[in-house]
């Protein structure tokens, strides 16, 4: 049996890692806003912004929510509903004709 102190602290990153992750998150946010204002990126805005957003999401859940060092069951409890939500979202976009196979419909 372990005490809560050990359980909470054992696998968590240090303060240095937390600050580094915050710096990376800030830089990614600045890049996102920068990309938004650069006309040259407008053709590929959606994939670039979605990739940057996914990177920020992954950094927060891995390091701040400690999924990187925690038990894999916690990762499953997040990723399964997340995948269901994404799948339902994509299905709705097709169902309502927002996107269609071969390009955007509406």
């Amino acid at each position: 049996m372990t005490d809560n102190h050990t359980h909470a602290a054992g696998k968590h990153p240090g303060v240095g890692t937390y600050v580094t992750v915050a710096a990376v998150l800030t830089v990614i946010t600045l890049v996102e806003v920068g990309v938004f204002y650069v006309p040259a990126f407008h053709g590929i805005l959606a994939p670039v912004l979605l990739t940057l957003s996914a990177a920020k999401f992954a950094l927060v859940v891995m390091f701040y929510m400690h999924l990187k060092g925690d038990h894999p069951i916690f990762t499953m409890m997040l990723s399964i509903p997340l995948l269901i939500a994404i799948a339902v979202g994509i299905a709705l976009l097709f169902l309502f004709g927002v996107v269609a196979l071969g390009g955007t419909a509406a």
């Binding site: 372990t2 937390y18 996102e32 938004f36 409890m77 979202g89």
Partner: protein, 192 residues
């Protein structure tokens, strides 16, 4: 003083397990709201439209504020875990203050939109935008109250390292609210 953890068949803390299950259900809630926003995007018959009304620089600042609140939250957890009561109070209060700042930005944004003619009933954009960002804002408000409760518990001397799991679970909630905003900022503001 250390408390002995509950012995469970999984070896994991049941409260943490239950909270991850709650976060899973929240993924479905926000997934449905974001999907609804996307389905009705560009289908408003009357304005104002997102291109006319959304303020990207202002929202970028509020996004930065929320990201920094997540940093303050993990620093609070680190301080509670090592038994540093002074810094745990500082970081808990900083997290709550940054959360309230974010809510201030949102209140300003909502007020501006209403003055510019966008309400919940104006068009499809107004309905889906206010429901999505309002639901997120309500989650932030609950998080702020939760953080202030922990701050008061700390002032009472009841938030030592033996209670680190309580701060960790609060942190899970707070970081989840943060990642939801990461998605909303991209999908609603930058891709509109």
């Amino acid at each position: 003083m250390t408390a002995v953890a509950h012995h469970t068949s999984t070896g994991l803390d049941n409260r943490k397990l239950a909270f991850w299950m709650f976060i899973g259900s929240e993924c479905l809630l926000f997934g449905s709201l974001i999907s609804t926003y996307l389905v009705y995007q560009g289908r408003s018959v009357v304005g104002p439209t997102p291109e006319e009304i959304l303020d990207i620089p202002l929202t970028s600042i509020s996004t930065f504020v929320l990201l920094m609140s997540s940093l303050a939250m993990v620093l609070a957890l680190a301080a509670v875990t090592r038994g540093d009561r002074r810094w745990s109070r500082v970081w808990l209060l900083a997290t709550a203050a940054l959360g309230m700042t974010f809510l201030g930005f949102q209140a300003y944004e909502f007020t501006t939109f209403v003055h510019e003619g966008l309400t919940l009933k104006t068009n499809l954009f107004g309905s889906t935008f206010f429901v999505l960002t309002g639901t997120h804002g309500a989650h932030v408000a609950v998080g702020v109250l939760w953080l202030l409760t922990l701050f008061v518990r700390s002032l009472q001397g009841k938030l030592g390292p033996d209670k680190a799991i309580n701060v960790e679970i609060t942190g899970l909630y707070w970081h989840f609210v943060d990642v939801v905003w990461i998605v909303i900022f991209t999908v609603v503001y930058l891709l509109s």
